[in-house]
Amino acid sequence: MSFVDYTKEIQVVEGKQPLRTIDDIISKPLETKPDKKFYIAISVTLTMLMFGVIGLGLTFWYGIGMWGNNNPVGWAYDIVNFVFWVGIGHAGTLISAILYLFRQKWRTGIARFAEGMTIFAVMTAGLFPLIHVGRPWLDGYLFPYPNQHSLWVNFTSPLLWDVFAVSTYLTVSLIFWYVGLIPDFASLRERTANKFKKITYSIFSLGWRFSNRHWQHYEMVYLILAGFATPLVLSVHTIVSFDFAVSILPGWHTTIFPPYFVAGAVFSGFAMVQNVLIFVRRIFNYEHIITLNTLEKMNKIMLVTGSMVGYAYAMEFFIAWYSGVQAEQFTFFNRALGPYAWAYWIMVTCNVVSPQLFWFKKIRRSIPIMFVVAVFVNVGMWFERFVIVVTSLSRDYLPSSWAYYTPTLVDAMILIGSFGFFFTWILLFTKALPVVSIAEVKAVVDGAQPSHKDH
């Protein structure tokens, strides 16, 4: 029987890497020409993006009547996709802020990438409310600004809270990301011989000079930002869930929504980060920086949040029964056994059953299996939002207005397009910026910190 010493912290970066090698490995994708694989990948994502652009063009030209939304299902793919993508973003902030506050060193290898994904996911999510207003060129009215109509927005509406939450989230994530990038820009500036690159990196590094008088404030700012981003990330999906929970529709009007949405967001976000990282570490040879141990820890978080989501599903049913409200009880019967039962059971299988495989260490450490499970999780989490939005709306209080919602081709095109948009950004990111934080990884290499033997 093998014996594991759990008192010793596992190395974050495997093997004792010389610091210069870390520089070399991380900046390699930026210094080499993109290879064939990159072009194939980006042509795939651009094709997907093109579907979205065509779908959006049709929508703008003919109006949102091109979508399947109709009475009584007035919200469908657009809001489902919005919540899905915002949720994907949450993993990044969790990794970069919450795990930072908990001093989880294994986050260093994946933090930069996850933060980037946060930004791209929130950008993708932001598209949907903007296009759903029908005339996206008038979206400026969403913000309270003094205008010639003397009109103001309604501050008691959760949809307005959403505007503030999502735009704050995007801004703060961008700031957090950029602050983390400054020392790396400076490292790249010192490495490169190319004049154009040197100018660009100099501009973005702001002349950073690795001074310890700066590092002190820098670490403080990082701590403060992490302290702000932590409640922020919880607030964003809470407010997104208010869009539903503040209404009086059975199936939406529940107080469990905020924690349930946050857990679900972290769950799907980790699944997406894990999926993409599996490719990144393989393609760029980051296996010893983004280690199997890191992936295993991410799988553990998926197991925890997946179980929380499963608990929330069960609790919704319990409360429906316990409340004694007929409309509420009907809604949940309808979810599990009604016309959308297929979607409900896809959701349960993918979200509740599949992550339970992660109880087994072998599965947690097997890359192909964990990849498939994470894909299932993402499918399941998309269906979760579909189930919440569509089943509740399609059968509300008034049976005479019940209707079955079917998405149109344009809906599907925009969904595909959103994936294309997201992955195009990801691909460009891998070639334009260091996808692993150089400074942070160096700091956690064995022997990088003083031994303090004389203290």
């Binding site: 503030f164 690795f210 310890n212 700012v221 702000f228 922020l232 022997g447 003083p450």
Partner: protein, 379 residues
């Protein structure tokens, strides 16, 4: 200035322990203007260098709280003072609903302020012209070496003693760092041709994009502000109906809401006899009557019904409304004149609905009484 000005002396170390040791010695020696450069933050360096704790937290606190307060006050002013609309039966100032936005504004303002304060106020960045930038020393400490730099504006600075000190702590590559003469002698020239060209191009691009957006783009479908709509407009033709007209006549015998046919057309005396004024002379009714009288009647009858038309010369003056004849008319008789017209006066039934006509009648009565007031009215 061709002579190079010294900025500092630098030394390089290979391990974190060595640099910590060197920093300790520098503090012991009493140096104040020195700096340690490492590719990543070193644990314990703050206490070795005796750096006071960062004050950035206060900035976050102050700006965050002001942001929250500003958000609260703005929302209060907007929804309770400037644009008071009751929504969902909630009070105009509904604090619980403001909490999410207050929180978001707090986070947003505090994060932005802290980062900007750090970069531009604490660090005085951007500063690519710093003498250390672009040196070999910087290349080393940016990657895998640890460096110390002792500046020459240091009180204890003496070239020899500093070099000696660096040697005593086993620093490698001891090198002087000079200010870059090009950077020092560089003067900003506003009227540089390149800069002017940049301004011209930027101005051209901005103005042409603005022109295109406001004058062309906004009139290209689908950005047409709903001007193109596939509905039938008044008097447009349509292929749907056999007569080709888009406009439809109402079904025969249908009566528009509130437009019961007038029973006494051409029978003024009968109208005076049969019609009973349904409206009491309340303040509201009289105010409505005043308003409508001033709009529709006063152009010819004058504001007080004296027949002194503002349209003098264009229309024959109507007779005064204060004649005995009109004063003795029953209410219904006046109502009839408004509804049906009389002599050159046309019907006002399309301008005034039934209630408004009666209100005007009541107001005319008030005018008449005011012009022929009795002693008793004054009491």
């Amino acid at each position: 200035m061709s002579e190079k000005i010294l900025y500092s002396y630098t030394g390089i170390f290979n391990s974190p322990d060595e640099i910590i040791h060197a920093a300790e010695k520098a503090v012991e020696k009493g140096y104040k203007k020195y700096d340690v450069h490492t590719p990543y933050p070193l644990h314990g360096m703050n206490s070795v260098m005796n750096l006071p704790p960062s004050k950035l937290g206060y900035i976050a606190l102050i700006v965050g709280l002001s942001g929250a307060l500003a958000a609260l006050l703005t929302m209060f002013w907007i929804s309770a003072i400037d644009y008071p609309i009751v929504i969902g039966g909630k009070p105009l100032f509904s604090f619980p609903a403001y909490v999410p936005i207050m929180f978001e504004v707090t986070v947003l303002s505090a994060s932005i302020a802290t980062v900007l304060a750090m970069l531009f106020f604490f660090f005085k960045l951007p500063n690519n012209a710093h003498p250390l930038n672009g040196t070999e020393y910087m290349q080393k400490v940016a990657s895998d070496k640890y460096g110390i730099s002792i500046q020459c504006d240091e009180k204890l600075f003496e070239e020899k003693s500093v070099i000696e000190f660096l040697k005593s702590v086993h620093a490698k590559d001891i090198t002087p760092i000079y200010y870059d003469n090009e950077e020092i002698n560089y003067k900003h020239k506003i009227f540089e041709p390149k800069f002017i060209l940049f301004l011209v191009i930027a101005g051209l691009i901005t103005s042409s994009v603005t022109y295109f957006t406001l004058n062309k783009l906004m009139f290209i479908p689908p950005f047409t502000w709903m001007m193109d709509q596939s509905r039938l407009d008044v008097q447009s033709s349509s292929v749907i109906f056999s007569d080709g007209y888009g406009m439809r006549n109402p079904v025969e015998g249908s009566i528009a809401r509130g437009s019961l046919p007038y029973q006494f057309q051409g029978q003024p005396e009968l109208a005076g006899e049969k019609l009973i004024n349904p409206l009491p002379s309340t303040k509201n009714v009289l105010e409505l009557g005043l308003k409508k009288f001033d709009i529709y009647c006063s152009p010819c009858h004058g504001f007080y019904g004296e027949g002194n038309s503002r349209l003098q010369g264009h229309f024959p003056n109507p007779p005064s409304l204060h004649s005995d004849k009109v004063r003795n008319w029953p209410d219904g008789r006046i109502f009839h004149v408004i509804t049906d017209g009389q002599n050159i006066m046309s019907s006002h039934a399309s301008q005034l609905n039934v209630d408004e006509r009666w209100a005007v009648v009541n107001y005319v009565r008030v005018l008449q009484r005011a012009f022929n007031a009795k002693e008793s009215d004054l009491q």
